[in-house]
């Protein structure tokens, strides 16, 4: 590991020692953060996978029903029938904080609808259409939960990657570099000290010889 390009002085040594202490503490904190985030991530991702599987299956059924419905109805009728929503809902969003990562929190609230189940008349639409709308409505809460969960996992994964990079940079670059430089300065200072001492001893000897 390369030694930093600094002047080997006592002042620089104190400065580097302080930096090393900060780096070591930061490394420990970041490592703890990473471990906790990975633990949370593991909990969430399992649910995410399971939820996605079930939602995809539900949605697949619903969309196939729509395909079936569109076979028995004209595209225009279908469009008109869907113009007015059969189900109204409201989403409340907030931010949740997982280990200082802002993740979305999406709450879903169904609003009372004042009409019966289907917003269209019975003349131009078929039974397949009713079934399709019902199935899609059933899949919706799962879809919204999936959106929240998947986004959370996504952001967490990003943050974990970032934190891991920082931990590694500190562990394998910063800290060894600082330690090496501190050692280098200490040795240099010691060497100067010894050089000084020998010089003094030599001087003393010379002076003694000159006297005697």
């Amino acid at each position: 590991m390369a030694v930093l390009r600094v002047n080997p002085t006592r002042m620089e040594l104190t400065r580097l020692k302080k930096r090393l202490a900060v780096a070591v503490r930061g490394h420990k904190l970041l490592k703890d953060k990473r471990d906790e985030m990975v633990r949370r991530f593991m909990e969430l991702i399992k649910g995410n996978k399971r939820l996605r599987e079930s939602v995809e299956a539900e949605l697949g059924v619903a969309l196939r029903s729509f395909l079936g419905a569109s076979l028995t109805m004209s595209p225009e009728d279908m469009e008109v029938a869907l113009l007015y929503p059969s189900k109204r809902f409201k989403v409340h969003v907030a931010k949740n904080n997982i280990m200082s990562v802002d993740v979305p929190k999406i709450e879903y609230e169904e609003l009372e609808s004042n009409h019966s189940t289907y917003p269209y008349g019975m003349i131009n639409t078929t039974g397949e259409m009713d079934v399709a709308v019902d199935r899609l409505a059933e899949a919706l809460p799962g879809l919204i939960r999936l959106a929240e969960l998947e986004k959370t996992c996504n952001m967490l994964a990003d943050e974990i990657e970032k934190t891991r990079r920082r931990v590694n940079a500190l562990e394998y670059v910063m800290i060894p570099q600082l330690e090496e430089t501190i050692r280098y300065i200490t040795m240099k200072l010691d060497e100067n000290e010894r050089g000084n001492l020998t010089r003094l001893m030599k001087m003393k000897e010379l002076m003694k010889q000159a006297e005697g």
Partner: protein, 104 residues
């Protein structure tokens, strides 16, 4: 906040019945533009069919870092292409460095 869905008309029109805003689009350019406009327009969730999502991976990537909008791939009416599962798998690899439960 609103919820939108992007994809081919066949797959997404049904969502209108649930008062989700439907934006039919199939070309890469249109999808890109739609995502960008919706992201600015206070949409909390944008569902996008896997067919459409696979055309614009970079645009979706761009919104990965902010909590909103959440852009979520859903299977279209041609069935699942595995884009969603692939996203989960990538997340796991990114976070843990290895694949833990997709090796079946």
């Amino acid at each position: 906040m609103k919820i939108g869905v992007i994809g081919d008309r066949q797959s997404v029109q049904g969502f209108a019945a649930l008062s989700i805003d439907v934006y039919p689009a199939t070309s890469e350019r249109n999808i890109k533009r739609l995502i960008n406009t919706l992201a600015k327009d206070r949409y909390a969730i944008i569902f996008i069919t896997e067919q459409a999502a696979s055309l614009v991976p970079e645009t979706i990537e761009k919104y990965n870092t902010s909590p909103f909008p959440a852009i979520i791939p859903i299977p279209g009416n041609q069935g699942s292409m595995g884009v969603g599962q692939e996203t989960i798998r990538r997340n796991v690899e990114k976070a843990i460095g290895t694949n833990i439960f997709f090796d079946e």
